[in-house]
């Protein structure tokens, strides 16, 4: 099967992000719509219900380098969060600690990454004490 080139793939993701995914529990879009390389993206994750994250909105950045989607995006939290897979001082999502980044496949998308992080919030991070809402890395 032919490989989808980076640009086509990112345009697909852009369109999906603008249409809105599901119920809005995750969302993403280009940080700078004039960026013809489509490298930098914003993402939000709505904290899953019945966890300490409930009703919080977390902001993240995603960076898709020139090798995307052959290589995984670099994901960083802007909103402070306490999760095992997130570096405590930089906010960087550590690829070795998030399964979908550790075993990246070019079929994965930014949506995959965001929903996997949200799943972490509902599982390993469900009861972890969290920094005050609104604080940033």
């Amino acid at each position: 099967m032919a490989k989808v080139p980076r640009n086509f793939r990112l345009l697909e993701e852009l369109e999906k992000g603008e249409k809105g995914i599901g119920d809005g529990t995750i969302s993403y879009g280009l940080a700078n719509p004039d960026d013809i390389f489509m490298s930098d993206w914003n993402g939000t994750i709505l904290g899953p219900p019945h966890s300490v994250h409930e009703n919080r909105i977390y902001s993240l950045t995603l960076h898709c380098d020139q090798n995307y989607p052959d290589s995984a995006p670099i994901v960083k939290f802007i909103s402070k969060v306490n999760l095992p897979c997130v570096h405590a001082s930089t906010g960087r999502v550590e690829p070795s600690k998030l399964d979908c980044l550790a075993r990246w496949s070019r079929n994965y998308t930014m949506e995959t990454v965001l929903s996997e992080i949200r799943r972490e919030m509902a599982t390993s991070g469900r009861k972890l004490p969290q920094p005050p809402e609104g604080s940033t890395f």
Binding site: G17, E18, K19, G20, D23, G24, T25, S27, Y28, G29, L30, P33, W41, N42, G43, T44, L46, P48, P49, H50, S51, E54, N55, R56, I57, S59, L60, R119, A122, T123, R126
Partner: protein
């Protein structure tokens, strides 16, 4: 002027026509006009991975025709309270409904008809009605009680099991219920206000109900069954309608633990109203289903939320009559 789609976490969807040089505040007002359950000051808007700030102009987010903005209700939303609750303060058992309130309801739990607060605490309303009823004037005074019962029907598991237990062990409460239920006029009012109930109410069943209700022991047995299976309890309406004689038989042996028979003699839960009746009909068809089958959907939802112990999930669902929200609350309030 462009049209943008608005989607919310509670399934509500709409479209809004707005100028791109309007502010986010304007957009919030436009959304509030379309979705009254999302007042402008409680909205948080998300578009393309960003939270929209009130003072910003929409075009700065490059929002375009056909794009989707997600609306989320903010956590600081003031909670609705039941209208009937204040009257319960005058009853001697007002401490009962004050047992730990369930954790904040999520935005999705706002079912039509019953506010989350009303559903979570039907006994406040019930006590209000009971107080008025017991004072010897059951006419309109009984009505707030019925409202609370409606909430119960809409969300049978919404009550905190702890509150339930506390109530069952409260003699004053039992006495009041007993006095209330043995008052024929209250029964008449109850029946008159619920056409579904009137249909199944033959002179025989009424007689049976009053006899049962006048007996505090019976009442306690029934209440404890209600606690064990709200869902099963709603089967009662169907059971009575189909075979009042069978119901009377079951009434003689309240300890027969099966969901079906237990429900048939549980007039407390009859008051669920039409929504409850619909569930009752469903329940009646397959009373012998295994719990794992009956709660398969709910178990799936709970597993998705990351609650990974199926046995505890099942137990919580059984305790709360299959209500996922109440089950999760129970799990959180009863750590292993």
């Amino acid at each position: 002027m462009v049209q943008i789609n608005i989607r919310s976490s509670s399934e509500a969807k709409t479209t809004v026509d707005i100028d791109l040089d309007s502010s986010v505040t304007d957009l919030k007002a436009a959304i509030a006009a379309k979705l009254p359950q999302y007042p402008a000051d409680q909205q948080r808007l998300i578009f393309s991975g960003r939270v929209l700030k009130d003072e910003d102009i929409l075009s700065s987010y490059k929002i375009a025709e056909g794009n989707t903005v997600h609306v989320i209700k903010s956590a600081s939303a003031p909670r609705a309270t039941t209208a009937a609750a204040p009257s319960s303060t005058s009853t001697p058992t007002s401490a009962t409904p004050a047992t730990p309130a369930p954790t904040p309801a999520t935005p999705t739990s706002g079912s039509a008809g019953a506010t989350p607060a009303a559903a979570a605490n039907p006994f406040a309303a019930l006590l209000g009605g009971a107080g008025a009823g017991a004072s010897g004037f059951p006419g309109m005074g009984g009505m707030p009680g019925m409202g609370g019962m409606g909430g119960m029907g809409g969300m049978p598991g919404g009550m905190d099991p702890n509150a339930m237990a506390a109530m069952m062990n409260n003699p004053a409460m039992l006495q009041m219920m007993s006095a209330l239920m043995s008052n024929p006029q209250f029964m008449d009012n109850m029946i008159a206000s619920n056409p579904m109930l009137a249909q199944v109410m033959t002179p025989e069943t009424r007689q049976m109900m009053q006899t049962m209700m006048a007996d505090p022991n019976m009442l306690q047995a029934m209440l404890s069954m209600g606690g064990m299976g709200g869902m099963g309890g709603l089967g009662g309406l169907g059971g009575m309608g189909a075979a009042p004689a069978a119901g009377a038989g079951a009434g003689a042996a309240p300890a027969a633990g099966g969901m079906g028979p237990a429900a048939a003699i549980n007039p407390l839960l009859w008051m669920g109203g039409p929504a409850g009746a619909a569930m009752a009909a469903q329940q009646q068809v397959q009373p012998q289903q295994q719990p794992t089958e009956r709660y398969a959907t709910q178990l799936g939802q709970m597993a998705e939320m990351g609650l990974v112990d199926p046995e505890r999930n099942l137990r919580a669902l059984q305790l709360t009559g299959g209500n996922v929200h109440a089950a999760i609350e129970w799990l959180f309030n009863n750590p292993q």
